[in-house]
């Protein structure tokens, strides 16, 4: 037999194998899974892994975009292209439509992130999904660092951090009663840098806003926000053109850009490796509300 050195596995390959295992486990044990797809880099990597898990067959579940209506055009184009290439079934859960029919009320701030949760839960109930894949990673945020790969949600979609199921080896408990569900996080053990290394290794394409480009922005609460119809400059704010890129892609009204010259994956990796600020800290207005903002939103059913 060959020496054991021949059977080395890189950490990216080990992470990939673990994620693929999780996808297959869900496909085998649940009746109605669905993958949450935003067009952001983590959900793109998730989709890439799902395609591998079931090759040469198709991805055996639909994808859902919880659409706040505040989108970056480049990201919507990318989403539609992916859906066409992989022959996916796309479900759009529209926040605008939910506002129109009175399910949720537009917050006075105009930030639609908080009202995404009822829209998501409404769509889950309508389509009777029993499992939802999300692209959250444990390195993103401290509440997420405590969450299971298979995260149990009660019939109201709520997470109870003090009452989580123990998760041992790779034995995931998928048992739920009707109405309850499991959020599944195949990227739990990936870090931001792992995602970028993997994107480079696999030549995964991304929406162009992840790379440096010139954009008209304003500086607000020490963060750079793009100025457009959705997010006009406030009185006293002076828009200026800056070379920026996005580290995360969320609702366009609360996702900030960072100054950057990185216009290749290589340069992005070098930048991410050198940065001293977490990606959510640098780019998400919605996480700055309180120390436990994410934990509170997750308890309400946020992904």
């Amino acid at each position: 037999m060959s020496s054991t050195a021949d059977y080395r596995v890189s950490h990216l390959d080990a992470l990939e194998a673990e994620s693929v295992f999780v996808f297959r486990e869900v496909a085998a044990e649940f009746e109605r899974p669905c993958l949450l797809f935003s067009g952001g880099k983590d959900s793109i990597v998730m989709l890439h892994l799902a395609a591998k898990a079931f090759a040469p067959g198709p991805i055996p579940f639909p994808v859902m975009h919880v659409d706040t209506g505040h989108n970056f055009d480049e990201v919507l184009d990318y989403r539609d292209r992916c859906v066409a290439e992989l022959s996916l079934q796309l479900i759009v859960a529209s926040v605008q439509e939910a506002i129109d029919r009175g399910l949720v009320v537009e917050p006075p701030t105009g930030m639609r992130n908080p009202i995404q949760t009822p829209v998501l839960l409404d769509a889950v109930e309508k389509h009777r999904f029993d499992s939802l894949f999300g692209g959250a990673r444990r390195d993103e945020e401290k509440a997420r660092a405590k969450e299971r790969v298979f995260s149990f949600r009660d019939e109201f979609g709520q997470w109870d951090p003090k009452n989580q199921r123990p998760e041992l080896w790779s034995l995931y408990n998928s048992r739920v009663h009707p109405g309850e569900s499991i959020r599944v996080f195949p990227l739990s053990n990936w870090t931001e840098l792992d995602i970028w290394h993997y994107i480079a290794q696999e030549s995964v394409g991304l929406p162009s806003i992840y790379f440096a480009h010139e954009r008209e922005v304003v500086e607000r609460d020490t963060m750079l926000y793009a100025v457009n119809d959705l997010l006009p400059a406030r009185p006293g704010e002076q828009p200026f053109v800056e070379k920026v890129r996005y580290r995360t892609v969320g609702d366009a009204t609360c996702t900030a850009a960072v100054r950057s010259d990185a216009d290749t994956i290589d340069q992005v990796i070098a930048e991410v490796a050198a940065t001293r600020i977490t990606e959510r800290g640098a780019t998400r207005g919605d996480d700055k509300v309180s120390e436990a903002a994410m934990e509170d939103r997750k308890k309400e059913g946020y992904f």
């Binding site: 037999m1 080395r8 596995v9 890189s10 950490h11 390959d13 194998a17 693929v20 297959r24 486990e25 496909a27 085998a28 890439h48 395609a51 898990a53 090759a55 067959g57 292209r81 992916c82 290439e85 992989l86 444990r138 401290k142 660092a145 405590k146 951090p161 003090k162 199921r165 123990p166 998760e167 041992l168 080896w169 790779s170 034995l171 408990n173 048992r175 739920v176 053990n189 870090t191 792992d194 993997y198 480079a200 290794q201 696999e202 030549s203 995964v204 394409g205 991304l206 929406p207 790379f211 216009d263 290749t264 994956i265 290589d266 990796i269 490796a273 001293r276 600020i277 977490t278 120390e291």
Partner: protein, 443 residues
């Protein structure tokens, strides 16, 4: 499936150029998962904080948030435990309730830390963290020496067969960097460890507070000629921990595209638990016992020459057999046990109801789910003294005991000491769906 279809966006709007070897080099490093256990007092948080900080895995905004919280609570120092204690209840009570996963990387390795609370009421969290660990890190305070908690941690790690163990004797600065103190604790622990099954033990004297022997070698302890902790973590040899001898491939999912795409494909998807599979190998499918050959192995849609742990692949067989989820592919002359009677150690994890003999549960073992009855509880083990209480009538939360199970369908299993994947299982309560126990198969 075409290349464009398997790789979403490969031809997408932005096709960024591939990175060069330098920036990508970390992508080729391997992965080490290690578990730590302990309380705030023994300096565990300081040690982890130092590893994270020195490897630049703590970010400025995280540190600023922790500093602000520490200051507002009136802490005298920046409490690095706040970095890992992510839940509101944990910060309010100043305790760690749950396993926290932390990540850091050096050019040599990527590390996943399963950081678990050390007190006896969190035994189940320690067991959870240890179940996937390649290495366990146990801390003792040099002034106190071995305490009940250190023995319990060592026992649990040996029960869970964590292949490598590091005993860090911390706070060496408070015992004047004394070689005698180090030797005394070292010998006491080694004597205790011989009663356990610990394949590889390393003992390192450190001062987490001052950084001695954490990342770089200490100048204060010239009598110590071993590696620093980080050097050891980066270099401990884990490749041979995997079992490459016994072929065990639990079938997870059958890939059989239904669409009329002109595809005639039937692949058995799963993750290799142990052994090496190659096209042409003669294999047996259990529990049916039919033999056939491997026609091909696909990895992420591409054919490969071999599959080994922990690869997730899809195996095609030469003959059309009835194979489904929960079956196992092995070699005809090296098979797992096929049995409905299982002897196991279990750790009880449910706070609502204890385990009683004669109770029925769902067993999840590899990809197979069956029902089982607890036929008998042989004894409850005191995890501090290793004393066996044969009169125990039940197992409560965090208690460990030896049981006999009778399953409705056979399990395809090995002794846990030989195979951590085919030797471990969980019990699920059929009424509440909660995961109530972790099990380790003895025979």
């Amino acid at each position: 499936m075409s290349q464009a279809a398997t790789e979403p966006g490969a031809s997408g709007p932005t096709h960024a150029p591939m990175g060069g070897a330098t920036a990508l080099s970390i992508g080729g490093a391997d992965l080490l998962r290690f578990a730590t256990a302990g309380s705030v007092d023994d300096g565990k948080s300081t040690l982890i904080g130092r590893l994270l900080y020195d490897s630049k895995a703590i970010f400025e905004d995280q540190l600023a948030a922790v500093e602000a919280t520490s200051a507002s609570r009136g802490d005298e120092y920046t409490n690095l435990a706040l970095l890992t204690d992510g839940l509101r209840a944990e910060r309010e009570q100043g305790i760690t309730i749950d396993v926290a996963y932390r990540y850091f990387a050096t050019p040599r390795r990527k590390f996943i830390i399963a950081d678990t609370p050390g007190h006896i009421q969190y035994t189940r969290n320690m067991v959870t963290g240890a179940s996937t660990a390649n290495l366990a890190l146990i801390l003792v305070d040099a002034r106190k020496g071995l305490v009940e908690q250190s023995r319990r941690h060592a026992f649990l790690c040996s029960l869970l067969r964590v292949p490598h163990m590091v005993l860090c004797i911390n706070k060496m600065d408070l015992v004047d960097w004394s070689e005698e103190v180090y030797e005394e604790i070292h010998q006491e622990f080694t004597a205790f460890a011989t009663k356990l099954d610990i394949p590889d033990l390393t003992v390192i004297p450190v001062s987490a507070l001052h950084g001695d022997n954490v990342v770089s070698r200490s100048e204060h302890m010239p009598w110590y000629d071993g590696p620093s902790l980080l050097h050891h973590l980066e270099n401990v040899h884990t490749a041979s921990d995997r079992n490459l001898v016994d072929v065990r491939f639990p079938v997870q999912h059958v890939i059989r595209p239904q669409q009329s795409r002109g595809l005639d494909y039937r692949g058995y998807a799963g993750q290799v638990s142990s052994g090496v599979l190659k096209p042409g190998d003669e294999v047996m499918v259990l529990p049916s016992g039919f033999t056939t050959r491997i026609a091909g192995i696909d990895h992420n849609g591409h054919e490969v020459d071999e599959a080994y742990p922990p690869m997730s692949v899809s195996v095609r067989l030469a003959d059309e057999l009835d194979v489904s989820r929960g079956d196992m592919i092995c070699r005809p002359h090296n098979q797992p046990h096929v049995t409905q009677d299982v002897e196991a150690m279990i750790c009880w994890m449910d706070e609502q109801r204890p385990l009683y003999p004669r109770a029925k549960y769902t067993v999840k073992h590899t990809t197979r789910t069956v029902r089982a009855m607890v036929k008998g509880l042989q004894y409850r083990l005191d995890v501090n003294t290793l004393h066996r209480d044969e009169d125990a009538a039940r197992l409560e939360l965090n208690e460990i005991g030896r049981v006999t199970l009778r399953t409705t369908q056979p399990l395809l299993c090995d002794e846990y000491r030989r195979n951590r994947t085919t030797g471990g299982f969980i019990l699920i309560d059929e009424a509440t769906n909660r995961t109530v126990a972790a099990g380790i198969i003895l025979s």
